[in-house]
Symmetry: C2
Subunit: 290 residues, 2 copies
């Protein structure tokens, strides 16, 4: 596995690979790799000639009171995991390498970012699409893989690629979960033991919501209420939102008659967790977005 | 010469060319080609394996009261001229092909667009960088050529490419002029005979300004005043601006001690004209920007 830290070198290497007719599969991460990331890399491995992964905790997507400094990092372990899974090139730029001078161009979202996490994390998705535009231009992948745990991010990246004609295929991969159902997340490490035990109820609450859809409940409000009640009853977490929206448009709906996302965000004492289920109109889990 | 009207086909063809290790030189135009455009295409021809030119009158960069509908068009003649000069692929999409649905992502400028033409054409450069981002992603050129007549555009494209890491080299080519010195522009066709005669004084006024710099005048205000007086004395045009700014930063300066642009925009009865000289600190004309 090659480790590259320079933008110029990375861009050059990838252009050379494309000239050799190599398909690049790209996985953007903020590091502290877990099974969810490795699963994305495995998918990329299967479907491309070369897998490029990036590790970059992007300051632009963190708010002033968010956990940029506290975001967990472990480069040494990440290197081992990425190598083991078969990543060909690991791109690890510094913040200065990615943002050497003031940004003279800004990207913003017109839709899909004013709901769910976008409501409590203003400018978060602007930071995401800005760094991804830069990474896409540096790496020039044919395909890029994102986890559906960050389903809103997948919807926003879909908007980015489609509206700006990036020559890239976006693939959203189903959330990987711990044995008890808790969604894999780098932030889980910050949960205390009690919170970690309660966290399973976020997934269980989502499953209760899904069961209602399977049982032909078409009213999103009833399902949202059931999910909220379960989380409030079973955990000490403060709910940020529970929402059901069309997917990937992320528009409010009054009847479940299309693909939807049932999504939740909660705040434990020091840790924000998100989770969701992507469901077809009959409540069946959608396993991949492309 | 191949003519392509479909985004998908264009993107596919260009990716195939890159795989064959072909360097693509790209010239974006709004059509109604004149010697200025052809000069860009000739430069592209010299320095690349393949020349792609686009003809697209981009609605997004025209204001509500501007001349989108009136902008001169002549596809038949453009096809002949492009073929003759040796363009390999001419991309001519419709507005619907470029903007098939609502844009979900917006680009905006942080600097360089709030002076000169940006002042009287709000959102103009946002439209420019949006369509260029799309065209860059569709055509994936190695080099792109722009005329320095639109020097502010060159500065904004430089910002776009640099800030977002597009793998593209920007080359700004010196303005081509009629024999009497008037800058080549598609809009010149809308001047009446009297205005066309007066238009030469825009260039002459700029040259007077340049001569002052050559003669060691370091104060931009004195030069701006001289240029304004000349245009007011010799033409019926209404001056929109005369400015001297650092280039490509486009910051106000109080002393001429670096590369600067001396730029002017005027409105004749139905036609807006712009022109400029790019000067080093000694007043010598800068012939290329890269």
């Amino acid at each position: 596995m090659k480790v590259i830290r320079s933008v110029e070198e990375m861009q050059y290497q990838c252009r050379e690979l494309i000239k050799q007719d190599k398909q690049i599969g790209f996985v953007a991460t903020m590091g502290f790799l877990h099974e969810g990331h490795l699963n994305l890399m495995e998918h990329a491995k299967e479907e491309n000639d070369i897998v490029v992964a990036s590790i970059f905790v992007n300051p632009l997507q963190f708010g002033p009171n968010e956990d940029y400094e506290q975001y967990p990092r472990n480069e040494e372990k990440d290197l081992l995991l990425a190598e083991e899974i078969g990543v060909d090139i690991l791109f690890i730029p510094t913040a200065h390498e990615m943002y050497p001078s003031k940004m003279l161009i800004a990207l913003s979202t017109v839709e899909r970012a004013d709901v769910m996490c976008g409501r409590s994390r203003p400018n978060h998705f602007e930071g995401v699409i800005t760094v991804l535009t830069k990474l896409f231009n540096i790496i020039q992948p044919s395909k890029t893989y994102f986890g559906l745990k960050d389903a809103q991010q997948v919807a926003v990246v879909d908007a980015l690629i489609t509206s700006l004609n990036f020559p890239i295929k976006l693939i959203g991969i189903q959330t990987t979960r711990e044995q008890d159902g808790v969604a894999q997340s780098s932030r889980n490490v910050h949960l205390n033991r009690h919170e970690r035990e309660e966290a399973v109820w976020i997934y269980k609450a989502l499953q209760k919501g899904q069961q209602l859809v399977v049982d032909d409940e078409k009213n999103p409000a009833i399902i949202v209420k059931e999910v909220m009640n379960t989380i409030n009853d079973k955990t000490s977490a403060r709910i940020d939102y529970v929402e059901i929206l069309s997917y990937p448009q992320l528009k409010p709906i009054t009847v479940i008659d299309e693909q939807v996302i049932l999504a939740v965000a909660v705040n434990f004492e020091n840790t924000r967790l998100i989770d969701n289920l992507l469901l077809d109109k009959n409540g069946k889990l959608v396993s991949q977005f492309k």
